[in-house]
Each structure stands twice: as C-alpha cells, then as structure tokens.
C-alpha cells in the first residue's frame, strides 16, 4: 500500500482551534438496548480522525448521529462550538456535513453522472445541462483516480468503482466535514492509494474528516487522531502518532483475544470420510470455480473480500440461487438436485448473513420463527405445546434473552437474533452447518458465546463452515481456512499458516502488505 503517503502527513492542526464538529456526551438507544452512551469526540479543520471499534461498538450509530440520519437521545452535536440540531441528512448537508455510507446507495439503472447529480441536477433553462454535468463528473472522478466513463450505467460498474462514485457524490459540492464509513472495505490497494491522495487534498483544503475503518494499517498511515469505541462507550481519544496497530487492536477489543475463542479441538484426521465434498461449483457471475471438502467435526473458514463469491457459493449449493456443480456429495451420497428442500433433507443448514432481511420474520413471535421450517403438528393442526417446549429448550440451550415472553423477533438484539437463528437451524437436525458472518454487529460478550456454541456443535460431530470477513474470527475459530478471490478458491491455510497477513495477501492478490 501507499507507504509514500506517510511522509505527506500534513501537520496536525493547532489543538486550541475550535473543533469544526464535536459530539458532546451523545447517547442513543433502540428500545431497551443502549447502543451508544456518553460518547464525546471532536474533529478540527484539516484533521483526519479515525474511529475504531469492533462490529457493534457503535461507530456507525455515532456517525449517523453526527450526520442527521439519527437523532441523539442524550447529549448534543456541536458545529463550530455551537449546538446544532440535525433533523435530517439534508439539513446536515446544508451545513456542510456529509456521510458516505458503507452500503451502496446508488440507482443502478442511471449513469454515473446521473447518480452524481441526482437531486441537484444542473440546468440550462428548463433543460438538463448534460454536457456540463458529464464534464464535472469526469473531472471529479479523475481527481479520485477513478477511470469510469460518466455515461456508464452504475449497474455495470464493479463494487469498488461504485464505492468511488459514492465518495465522489459526497464531494461534489464543497464540504466542511466528510464522514467515511469503511470506504476501503471493497477497494483494491491501488484504489486505496487514490482515495488517500484525495483525502490528503481534502485535509489540505481544511476539511474535517471522520474515518471508520477496520484496516488498522491504513489508520496508522493516514490518521491524525484515533477515537476508540467499545460496546457503545468511548475508550479513548488520542493522537495517532506513536499508536501502533497492536495497541489499537488491544484498545478495540479491550481484552486478551485468547479468551474470546474457546480452545480449539484437535482437527479431525485427514483420513475421515468427508461430510461434504464439492467439485467444481459455479455460480453465474459470482463463482467461477470452487472445489473443497469438509470433514465431520471440522470448522472450515471461508475468507476473502466482500464480493469474492463466498456467500454466493453456498447460496448456490443450497439452491437459493442458480448454480451448477459437477458433483456434490453429502455424507457419501450424491445430491443431484440443488434446492432448499433437498439441502434440508440432506442435512445442510444455512444461516444467512442477512438476519433482518432473510433470516427472521421480524414481526412474528420467537416461536413462530423457531419452528418456521417445519412447524410442529398433530393431526394436521399446529401443536402449540410442542412448540412451546421447543422454544423453552432453545431459550435455555442457546441463552436467547428476550425482554418479554411474547416479544417479536424484531425486538431482540442482534446477538439474540443470531442465537435464535442458530436454534431455528439446529431444530431441523442438520449435520452440516454453514454460518455466514456469525457475529456481524454483535457485542463482544455474545460473540464469545456464539463461538462456544459453534465449537460445541463441531465437537458433537457436525461439520461447520464459517464465512467471515473478520480475520481474527477465522483464525481463532477454524481448523482450516479457504480464501476466495474473484470467484475462485485461491488458497488453503492450515495451522500456523493461518495469519491475517496470509489471508489478506490471498484475498487481495497482492504479494506484499504495507504494515
């Protein structure tokens, strides 16, 4: 990565200057769950402040409070030292504060230029001034090192290019504060360099930058100050100078990583007959070729960047999206037909990464969700007694904590939703369990708990696949890790070879990593 950029670091702005944007003891809760409490932070003109924290630490919530997407329950937002109420994102933008979302919010059918100018189109008389919009779009994109044609439909761009367009959209008009939520998660190193160059010129122009990232090496490279959140609280705010990656990781996690993961059971012998054997799976447009095998009692990790085809591979194998596979053998039996029903019968359970959109019926009770796959019945009618017993068992077995007995699935915290999904899938009696992003957006205590459940399920003889973007998780939990890149399995790592460096190298395809 851009090691040359380090020398370009602009001098940190004078500490006594009034912060451009500040959070003063902000607090926010959803229902009974306090996601943020008493968090203060400030960023000055020309300063880049990195905000660190694990998933679920409250980073995104904080950024949304600072950009008018959410309203704080406690505390206030200060602009130039004066309290402001940001009723909505539009109002924040008028004051010069913009948030670049982590999710991609672009209209796929419209062109790059149309997306950039959506809602603030340039006109000449009553008509659109297409020529000027295209020229400005091309200029702005070039300054970000992004070579996409302004008249290209956004739907045809790569994920990284879309991310750059989204950043460009935020920078279309002069800003005072730019907030970036994991802008580099889907970028290649070359694109990251271009983005950093753009951020440095913003800094030089006196823009205050807030920057969320999980890539600590990047943070060490470009941040002036670092703010760390953990479980919705402020851990520290301090200058970045002299703060190494390891120290940042320790501050984020707040405890020794070794206690987060249960001790690893010995990997099953290589001679054990495989629980799942996949030969040349293809998912059109997503997975070019993937072959692998999985043994009983094994935890197999799948690493890679977003868009590498991990989720799509397993959704294809389960029959949730069109896929071809040369051979799919489950416990010695060849599965001829890929469909959710046949996967269920073959004993494959899949937990989606999209808990709210695809995993649970948010407006239905817990028991309905638990038994949705195959509701208990007696004489054709629902068996309420068995359902209740199963719910009790799931509640104690997976420690599902609901405020009230008649709570709806949507009222649970993310961690409890994940536990409910685990219980729901285990109720169908799978022997192969595929868990996609098992701890995304979950607090650290529940995380450790979910790791213990996964380890226990494997120890009981189930074969487990864990798809995760958190490298710590893959390394701490899995016996073996496969890395995917651009729709192919490119590496298999085992034992001491499982390191963050090795995973990143294979995931990005770059031979070296600046650190």
């Amino acid at each position: 990565m851009a090691s040359g950029l380090i020398g370009n670091r602009t001098p940190a702005p004078a500490a006594q200057a009034t912060p451009t944007l500040a959070a003063d003891a902000l607090g926010k809760s959803y229902g009974q769950v306090q996601v943020l409490s008493d968090v203060s932070l400030s960023v000055r003109a020309g300063e880049l402040c990195a905000v660190l924290g694990e998933n679920g630490a409250g980073k995104s919530t904080l950024m949304k409070l600072l950009s008018g997407h959410l309203q704080p329950d406690q505390g206030s937002v200060l602009l130039d030292g004066q309290p402001v109420r940001l009723a909505n994102p539009m109002q924040a933008e008028q004051l010069g504060i913009v948030l670049v979302h982590q999710e991609q919010l672009l209209a796929g059918e419209l062109t790059v230029a149309e997306n950039l100018f959506l809602g603030r189109e340039l006109r000449r008389g009553p008509f659109l001034d297409r020529a000027r919009m295209h020229a400005l779009a091309a200029e702005l994109l070039a300054s970000l090192g992004c070579r996409v044609a302004p008249d290209m439909p956004v739907g045809r761009l790569s994920i990284a290019e879309r991310q750059m367009v989204q950043i460009a959209r935020a920078l279309l008009v002069p800003r005072r504060v730019v907030i970036l939520d994991e802008p580099t998660a889907v970028l290649t190193p070359h694109e990251v360099d271009a983005l950093f160059a753009a951020l440095l010129s913003l800094k030089a122009a006196g823009v205050a930058l807030l920057y969320i990232s999980h890539r600590l090496a990047e943070v060490a490279m470009i941040a002036d100050s670092v703010t760390v959140l953990r479980d919705g609280r402020l851990v520290t705010s301090r200058p970045a100078a002299g703060l190494g990656e390891l120290e940042m990781a320790r501050l984020m996690v707040g405890r020794d990583m070794s206690t987060l993961f249960p001790p690893k059971a010995a990997p099953p012998p290589a001679s054990a007959s495989p629980a799942l054997q996949v030969t040349r799976a293809r998912v059109p447009g997503q997975v070019r070729e993937a072959s692998f095998s999985l043994r009983p009692a094994e935890i197999l990790g799948f690493g890679g960047l977003v868009g590498a085809g991990r989720t799509e591979l397993f959704e294809g194998l389960i029959g949730l999206r069109p896929a071809q596979v040369e051979q799919l053998v489950v416990h010695g039996r060849t599965l001829a037909h890929l469909s959710p029903r046949s996967a269920l019968r073959a004993g494959i359970g899949y937990l989606t990464e999209d808990r709210k959109g695809r995993g649970l019926l948010l407006r239905q009770p817990l028991a309905t969700n638990l038994t949705l796959v195959a509701p208990f019945q007696r004489f054709g009618l629902l068996d309420a007694a068995r359902e209740l017993a199963a719910m009790e068992q799931a509640r104690t077995g997976f420690d599902i904590r609901a405020g009230r007995r008649d709570a709806l699935a949507g009222q649970l915290s993310g961690g409890n939703q994940q536990k409910l999904m685990l219980a729901k899938t285990m109720l169908t009696g799978p022997r192969i369990l595929v868990i996609d992003e098992p701890t995304r957006g979950i607090d650290i205590g529940t995380k450790a708990q979910i790791y213990r459940f996964i380890a226990a399920l494997a120890a009981a003889g189930n074969a487990v696949v864990v798809i995760s973007s958190e490298m710590q998780e893959l390394i701490g939990l899995c016996h073996r890790v496969l890395v995917m890149r651009h729709g192919r399995v490119v590496a298999e790592l085992e034992g001491d070879d499982m390191t963050e460096d090795a995973i990143v190298v294979h995931a990005t395809g770059v031979g070296e990593r600046a650190a």
Partner: protein, 329 residues
C-alpha cells in the same frame, strides 16, 4: 389447544386494530337504524346478511391470497365463467335426472373454480409474474369466455324444475338461518382454523411477511402460493353456487366489480394488502359493512343508490388510510 399451561404462558394480546371492522359495523348499524327504523327489521337484516354472502365467501379466499402477499383481480369474471359453465353442463345432464344435473353443476362450480385458481397460481409462481398482471389478464379472459358461452345473451337453468330445485340454496333457511349465512359462517370457521392453526396457514403468513425469509427457511413457496389461489378459486365456486340459484341465470355482467368488493372487504377487515397477516372474521365483517352501506343508501334516500359503487370505492381508500395511520402508532 388442550394444554392449559401452554395457554397461560402465551398471553393473548388483543390488537385494537383487529376490532376496527366490528366497530365500524356497529356504527353502521346504529346509523342505519337512526336513518330508517326498518333497517333493524329481521327480514331486512336477513336480506343484508344473505346478500353479503357472495363477497364474504370470495373474501375468505382473498384473505389467503392477500395474506400471502398476492392479489386476485379475476374473481368476479371467474364466478361468471364457472357459473355459465355449470349452468350449461347441468342443463346438458338434466336428461339423466335432476339430481345428476344438480351434482354436475355443483362439481363444475367448485372444481372449475379450483382449476381456474390453479391456472392463476401456476402462471404466477412458475412464470414468476406479478399477480396483478396475471389476474388482470385472466379477468379479461374469463369475462370474454362468459360472453362467448352466452353468445352475448344470458344462460339460464332449464328445465324450470331444476330452477325450483336450486332456489332454496339461496332463498332457503335452516333453523331460521338463511342457507348462505350458514355457508359463510361454516366456511369462515374452517378457514380460520386453516389460516391460524395449521403449518400451511403459518407458511401463508410467512411468505406474505417476507418471502425471502420463507425461501431461506426452505418453505416450498411456489406450492404454498399456488394453493392460496386454488383456495380462492374454490371459494369463488362456492359463492357461485350461492349466486346462481338467485336468478337461475348468468349474464356477461354477472359478478361485475366483485374483485373490488372482495378486496375492499379484506382490507376493511384488517388484513394488510402487503401480506403478512390474515383476518378471516374481519373480512366477513368487511363484507357486511359493504352490504350494510348499500342497504342504508337504498333505505334512506340520502344519496342516490346509483352511487353505491362510488361509495364502496371510497370505502376502500378510507380503509387503507385508516390502516396506515393505525400502523404508524
């Protein structure tokens, strides 16, 4: 549910929104009585409830379709089509005895309805098309087929003996209850159990609440969704069996705008048009609301009865607005 402990552990929360259709009905009865005391006369009440039976029965089927996030616009013309077909086949088999003719007519109505529903459902699920477009198309097809069968005129049951034989299905009563009322009450009870107390009903609601979640839970979405249209078709068949005996004939305009009334009844009843919940008794109350409004308009002379359609059209819009504001709270 036999287990008392289970019942105690699962407190029933009564959603105030679910009482709205019954409250609306009560208000209408009050208004109707104030405007014209004849409204509450037993024969008028019996008349209103009997006339509401077609929409109530079709609405019960529509509750399944809509709870699953679907829509069926073809029910009115489907009823005319299967009514016409049933009449033609009954007449043709009258030579084998009136009982045979009766059985043939009944089977054709229910079987034909189920088949029409199956066709709608398969095109929607296998063809992956919008229910709105598919049933808009089949609405046109069923209507034209009826006109074709009747050659632009009407189709009547013959001989007259057959007409006399079927008349009690609409005009008769058992223990003081009009037959159509017994039919929709019984059907409502069965439908309530199916929708609320069977795995199938739970899957209907699940695919309406979030089809993706159902798909990721290995629910056979296509089969469940298709079955809702088959149930809808069967209900149209039953409604047709109640309807034909009234006039013993079907014309190309029979069942006109029934789809609007059925969907209105469902929405008044508290079922969300987006799916995810289904209220059978609410739908029946909705059908009664619609028929009461029409009846009050006829009795009171406040508004021309030619405007009944306009008032019913306005009711669905108001019901949607009420539903939205209730959801916001």
């Amino acid at each position: 549910m036999s287990n008392a402990a289970a019942r105690a552990a699962r407190p029933r929360r009564i959603d105030p929104a679910s009482l709205a259709p019954f409250a609306a009905l009560a208000v209408l009865v009050l208004v109707g009585t104030l405007l014209n005391a004849r409204f509450l006369a037993p024969d008028n009440i019996a008349n209103v409830v009997t006339r509401a039976s077609f929409i109530a029965v079709i609405g019960i089927g529509a509750t399944f379709v809509i709870a699953a996030g679907g829509l069926d616009l073809s029910v009115g013309s489907m009823s005319a089509f299967i009514g016409g077909s049933a009449i033609l086949l009954s007449n043709a088999s009258a030579g084998h005895g009136l009982g045979t003719a009766l059985a043939v007519g009944g089977l054709v109505a229910i079987g034909g309805g189920a088949l029409c529903g199956l066709a709608n459902g398969l095109v929607i699920t296998v063809g992956r098309l919008e229910a709105f477009i598919v049933t808009l198309g089949s609405m046109g097809i069923f209507r034209a087929l009826t006109t074709y069968l009747a050659q632009g005129g009407s189709l009547s049951l013959t001989p007259d003996a057959l007409q006399d034989l079927v008349r009690p299905v609409y005009f008769g009563s058992v223990l003081g209850m009009p037959v159509p009322v017994l039919v929709f009450a019984l059907l409502g009870g069965v439908a309530w159990v199916v929708l609320n107390r069977t795995p199938f009903g739970r899957h209907v609601v699940a695919i309406g609440a979030n089809e993706e979640v159902a798909r990721y839970s290995s629910v056979a979405i296509g089969r469940v969704r298709t079955l809702t249209y088959v149930i809808q078709g069967g209900c149209v068949g039953i409604a047709t069996i109640l309807y034909v005996p009234r006039l013993s004939s079907v014309t190309p305009t029979s069942g006109l705008l029934w789809e609007l009334q059925a969907i209105t009844a469902v929405v008044i009843g508290g079922t969300s048009l987006r799916g995810g919940n289904g209220r059978i008794w609410g739908t029946i109350a909705g059908a009664l609301v619609l028929e009461s409004v029409a009846n009050i308009m006829v009795l009171s002379n406040l508004v021309s009865e030619y405007l009944i359609g306009a008032v019913q059209g306005a009711i669905i819009i108001v019901a949607m607005l009420v539903q939205r504001s209730l959801r916001r709270n």
